[in-house]
Symmetry: C2
Subunit: 238 residues, 2 copies
Amino acid sequence: MKVEIWSDIACPWCYVGKARFEKALDAFPHRDQVEVVHRSFELDPGRAKGDIQPVIRMLTKKYGMSEAQAQAGEENLGAQAAAEGLEYRTRDRDHGNTFDMHRLLHFAKEQGRQDELIQILYKANFAEERSVFSEGEERLVELAVAAGLEAEGARKVLADPAAYADEVRADEREAAQLGANGVPFFVLDRKFGVSGAQPAEVFTQALTQAWGERSPLQLIDQGDADACGPDGCAVPQH
Amino acid sequence: MKVEIWSDIACPWCYVGKARFEKALDAFPHRDQVEVVHRSFELDPGRAKGDIQPVIRMLTKKYGMSEAQAQAGEENLGAQAAAEGLEYRTRDRDHGNTFDMHRLLHFAKEQGRQDELIQILYKANFAEERSVFSEGEERLVELAVAAGLEAEGARKVLADPAAYADEVRADEREAAQLGANGVPFFVLDRKFGVSGAQPAEVFTQALTQAWGERSPLQLIDQGDADACGPDGCAVPQH
């Protein structure tokens, strides 16, 4: 069974939702047969790469919140994160463009390190004092290395703005096609969707239902197949 | 709608089947909304990289055919290919390990050139006098360039045996999970399967049926979602 999770590193509910999903997955009897793939979604795709702002200022400017509202939202997120055992800095975080991190996550996927990297990026963004936005590419290289990637490979990806850019955009197009207009967005076997950081119980229900409704492919054919397999290429007598 | 095609460059029915599928796809009214992805399947994964044989000798040794049977099979394939407008050399082709070509196809996928490359590899293997197996890596680099890839990038992939190797193996595992034991194997939206180089009419039927049964995701949730979207991150009052 395959679970695809659309999310953004700059999305606090994605950070919290991943932990809730994993709580459900860890207890799921068929967890060894569940493949998890992370897909890209930028909450703020129009933001220029160098345009970095304190989170509270971004919230007041972009969404018209008062400072008190924005801070209350952060406090709520901090409490929700803490309830999942996650660290969350409710003050002095910053916000910026996440495109390069998504490109790096696609590179990490190829190396079998995607889940490690997204977890490290979340932690760096939400729990650590150092910024993931303002220190330049070497900061991301360092985090990639912590996820088990080679520094040189990560550096090359970051230096080439076209590397994995198509993959990021393809993920975003697919999210739109699937009807996701916010994240986190979980898709199970392309059949069931869970929108948002729902309680772990909802993920358990979704996993159980999707598992129960797994279905083999319906084969469409017309008699003998002309195919090649372990016993050679069939040579039907037409 | 997504169509995944498992195939091998060394599989003549894959070459013919792709043409039959494309005949159906070209006439399909929703063809612009069909995404085609090629996936890896090696018919002869145990063959060492340098172990190259004439096709007829491989058929007699590996499958215990007589030379006359093997040659008759090739003549039949030549006629089937011709009926699809494809060139096919029924004599003096060779056979070898295709792992590197599959790795290169995954690289090409990233660059949006996968379909171009697989078509060029098929033509080179089945229709051209020069071998795709015996001339070394520069032959594959040349074909990659013909498909629109950069020589240097292709050369790097070929020089590093680990590059995209996991992707090839993951495709092969997935084929087995889906019940494919031969190729070509077509999977539509992970719901319908078509095994073998079926007539174009079967592909038309499969495309039509899969299109008609496209279904939106069933959303599983429990009230308000904690999510971030274009209007910010919802802050429910818990």
